[in-house]
């Protein structure tokens, strides 16, 4: 397998996100439709059922730098959330989140959002008390 260059990988991800071909419980797209560098993205996660996140929709920002996908993107929650891998400003802390910590260039923004959702639904986290709905950082 050859290495897909950054921009073409992001174009593939964009297309998948635009067409809604991925998982239904998450979504993502470019923040600005004319960001030719494809750096700034928005993501959403639908709170997993049977957890304190049920029926909530979480918004996030994702920043794919120059070195993406060799380096993982920066991920930040806009919606307030109580989750061990998220700091007080809403940043997903790479050292506390395995997908970013052990990042592989085959991973995608979808991988990150799905893994975050999985973490929200895990037995350790699903009962964590959450801030009132609608709060933002």
């Amino acid at each position: 397998m050859s290495k897909v260059p950054r921009n073409f990988k992001l174009l593939e991800e964009l297309e998948k996100g635009e067409k809604g071909l991925g998982a239904e419980s998450i979504s993502y797209g470019l923040s600005s439709q004319d960001d030719i560098s494809m750096t700034y993205w928005n993501g959403t996660i639908l709170g997993p059922p049977h957890s304190t996140h049920e029926n909530r929709i979480y918004s996030l920002t994702i920043v794919c730098g120059e070195e993406y996908p060799t380096k993982p993107p920066e991920v930040k929650f806009i919606s307030k959330i109580n989750l061990p891998c998220v700091d007080e400003q809403g940043n997903v802390v790479p050292s506390a989140f395995d997908t970013l910590k052990n990042w592989k260039r085959t991973y995608t923004m979808e991988t990150i959002l799905l893994e975050l959702r999985k973490s929200m639904a895990s037995s350790a986290n699903k009962k964590l008390v959450q801030p009132p709905e609608g709060r933002t950082y």
Partner: protein
């Protein structure tokens, strides 16, 4: 990384030794499937005088599938969207392994000379184009001067 197929090596050699007028394609040092491309705006088009940067990538399945190509220079054209994605039949359904990087880049150059607002990708641009072609052409010229002029690069 797997060895580069002979076909890609040959195409690359010829692009360098026998370049297409008005077009350059240079493979990236760290990825020989990734090319930095420039295309001069055709003289009898609103893009005349502009030098447009593009990027091109040959996926693993090439030549069974088309190269992936995108404009990096902003351009006002009904078949090219805000992200530089190109709507061109030979990049999609009409791709054939008999085509090459060279022929694809020539097709893109021809697309600059002959915008096709009836098969649009950038819908707002295509609408402007159909509503008032003269104004659209003027806009394309302005964008060329602003974003693609060789003196500004």
């Amino acid at each position: 990384m797997a060895a580069l197929p002979k076909r890609i090596i040959k195409e690359t050699e010829r692009l360098v030794s026998d370049p297409v007028p008005g077009i350059t394609a240079t493979p990236s040092e760290d990825n020989l499937r990734y090319f930095h491309v420039t295309i001069e705006g055709p003289s009898a088009s609103p893009y005349a005088g502009g030098l447009f940067k593009l990027e091109l990538y040959l996926p693993d399945d090439y030549p069974m599938c088309a190269p992936k190509v995108r404009f990096l220079t902003k351009i006002y054209h009904p078949n090219i969207d805000k992200l530089g994605r190109i709507c061109l039949d030979v990049l999609k359904d009409n791709w054939s392994p008999a085509l090459q990087i060279r022929t694809i880049l020539l097709s893109i150059q021809a697309l600059l000379a002959a915008p096709n607002p009836d098969d649009p990708l950038a819908n707002d641009v295509a609408e402007d184009w159909k509503k008032d072609e003269q104004a659209a052409i003027k806009m394309a010229q302005e964008w060329t001067a602003k974003y693609a002029s060789t003196s500004s690069q």
